[in-house]
């Protein structure tokens, strides 16, 4: 049994090491409480709905979210808009469809099954409109950046005047959390930029937090069921392990050897 604990602590140590090396690479990002962290973490429904509002009103003019459909907005574990709300949201977008029986493309109001409408037709159009920089698709953005949600949250609030000696080209901005500090996206958020229907004050900090929460959901739409299932699975495994441990002790007690 002593040996066993040695092995087990070795595995825990390995896990700890892998976690801490990830942590060591981080710059000091701004901290905030994320409701979805931890084994019981869940999304803050209101924050997701506000975050969706920030995305549509601010980000979506340049950033696509090609893996999201309007139906996702009404699904469990997400912003959980009602079906009617989600339908209304979808219908507020013009979707290109076709070809019809005459062979022509046409536009129609969006449906729940449609993917989020893209701001540009293709990558080249997006680059042409943004000084050569492609505004990345935001569907899995928080998983595609080393610092994750903390990085995105900080980046949105990290705009500063460049320190003395740093010169910036046209269309390049200074951000203290960006890799290399130079970013082609201008500061987008300012206090009161959007008007939240639930009365929350739309400070830059609040909007950053809401939209980052929304991005976390878009990258991990099944996060809540993953956490819930994980808890059940691990409790089940622990109980089973304890039962098997006592069975093992019983079986091995037939011979005089320690397990």
């Amino acid at each position: 049994m002593k040996n066993f604990f040695k092995i087990f602590s070795f595995i825990i140590l390995f896990s700890g090491l892998s976690l801490s090396t990830q942590a060591a690479e981080k710059v000091e990002y701004l901290k905030t409480d994320w409701s979805f962290k931890g084994p019981f973490g869940k999304f803050d429904r209101a924050a997701l709905q506000r975050g969706y509002q920030v995305y549509t009103e601010v980000c979506s003019s340049c950033h696509s979210m090609k893996y999201l459909s309007y139906r996702n907005l009404a699904e469990k574990g997400g912003p959980e808009f009602s079906i009617e709300q989600a339908k209304a949201i979808a219908a507020s977008f013009e979707v290109k469809d076709g070809p019809n029986s005459d062979g022509d493309m046409f536009t129609r109001p969006g449906r729940l099954s449609d993917k989020f409408v893209m701001p540009y037709d293709n990558v080249q159009a997006a680059q042409a409109a943004n000084g050569g920089a492609y505004p990345p698709d935001m569907s899995v953005l928080v998983k595609a950046r080393g610092g994750g949600v903390d990085y995105i949250y900080s980046l949105l609030q990290g705009y500063e005047d460049p320190p003395a000696g740093v010169t910036l080209d046209d269309g390049v901005y200074y951000n203290k959390y960006m890799y290399g500090n130079k970013i082609k996206m201008a500061n987008q958020l300012s206090d009161g930029l959007v008007e939240y229907s639930d009365g929350t004050t739309a400070s830059v900090e609040q909007m950053s937090k809401d939209v980052t929460t929304f991005l976390m959901w878009s990258a991990e739409p099944h996060l809540e069921s993953r956490h819930q299932m994980g808890f059940k699975a691990i409790v089940y495994l622990i109980i089973l392990t304890i039962l098997v441990y006592f069975s093992m002790k019983r079986i091995w007690s037939r011979i005089e050897t320690e397990v």
Binding site: F4, I7, F8, S18, V140, G148, I234, V244, M248, I251
Partner: protein, 420 residues
Amino acid sequence: MSDHEYTPKSKFGKWFNDRLPLLTLANHLTDYPTPKNLNYWWTFGGILTFCLITQIVTGLVLAMHYIAHADMAFDSVEHIMRDVNYGWLIRYIHANGASMFFLAVYIHIFRSLFYGSYKAPREIIWIIGIIIYLLMMAAAFLGYVLPWGQMSFWGATVITNLFSAIPLVGEGIVTWLWGGYSVDNPTLTRFFTLHYLIPFLILGLVVLHIWALHVPGNNNPVGIDIKKPSKDTVPFHPYIVIKDGFALLMFMIVFAFFVFYTPNILGHADNYIEANPLVTPAHIVPEWYLLPFYAILRSVPDKLLGVVAMLSAILILAALPWLDTSKIRSAVFRPLYRQFYWILVADVLILGYVGAMPAEGLYLLVARVATAYYFLHFLVILPVLGWKEKTLPIPLSITEPILGGSPNLATAKNKESLNK
């Protein structure tokens, strides 16, 4: 082998067994005499079998939904994560399962190194194990390419380019591997095919690995030959089955923690960016389990020699049964070897660490020293140690330890008076 003659009880069983002795095999597997002092380091064989089966089963389901095409692979992975029922669970088990597989295999290999399980008469088991390990690395690398993210693409580019170091035919081989002049759709489709094939090759080799094990039987922590069956052994079922099962459940708890709570921590964030041949990531790093070899590769300034060094680092293990000249198996009775063993463990961990860091300055220096030491351990320290080391007296059996044991296993065995 010490299998007693087995006859099935039922008439049908007898009839069937005469034609295909499956029941004899099942009887052999349950009765298989196993040393009773096997500690928990020995449970990783069973854990590895579990890992292999898990990877095959989850992989089959993933392959039903995945599309091996450069334009659609990344999208199809997101489709699995979002729209396939429990697709996220299957994919996270498969992705983290690879890491768990390697964690278990490293423990399994280092257990063998500590207790001298590779020594006569178990050389063939060991060499089959090395081939399995090589195939595992191939499968893991090929699998990492399939999501077609940035690390997939650039990892594939870096690794396949290693073949260009071969004189004269190198460039041609790389073009042949790629199926074109860069990593592209033909590369992806063949990588997918091979990724699907290799696990079944591994499965076949695992059968041989276990077959070869069942000829001499398990080594054990004391490292001595034992009589089978005897007071020193227990039947595989139920004793070892329940113990392996208990250890496997503990392992599954760790596994589940990764899958459910930190599913992406062992991967690289860049792999959630779709492959882009025009943008090179700042640091191209392999998965954690390949880092020690990556460090060895980069520590040699010449490309060809670097590749040779990296391959030698793995292949040298196959010669281990002959490089280790000591007659004593278990490090328990080899005080000097025990210390060098732990230095080797530290050396490999250091290589893994510097493999993750940029190859410059102090990191590069450390990588070079650690690489040199790695080869020194196998090529110089092990052979010399076998001749010079003063080993401790070994016991004659597991149940009756240290009864006038001799430091030399062969003489101890030959003394009839000591062997009843």
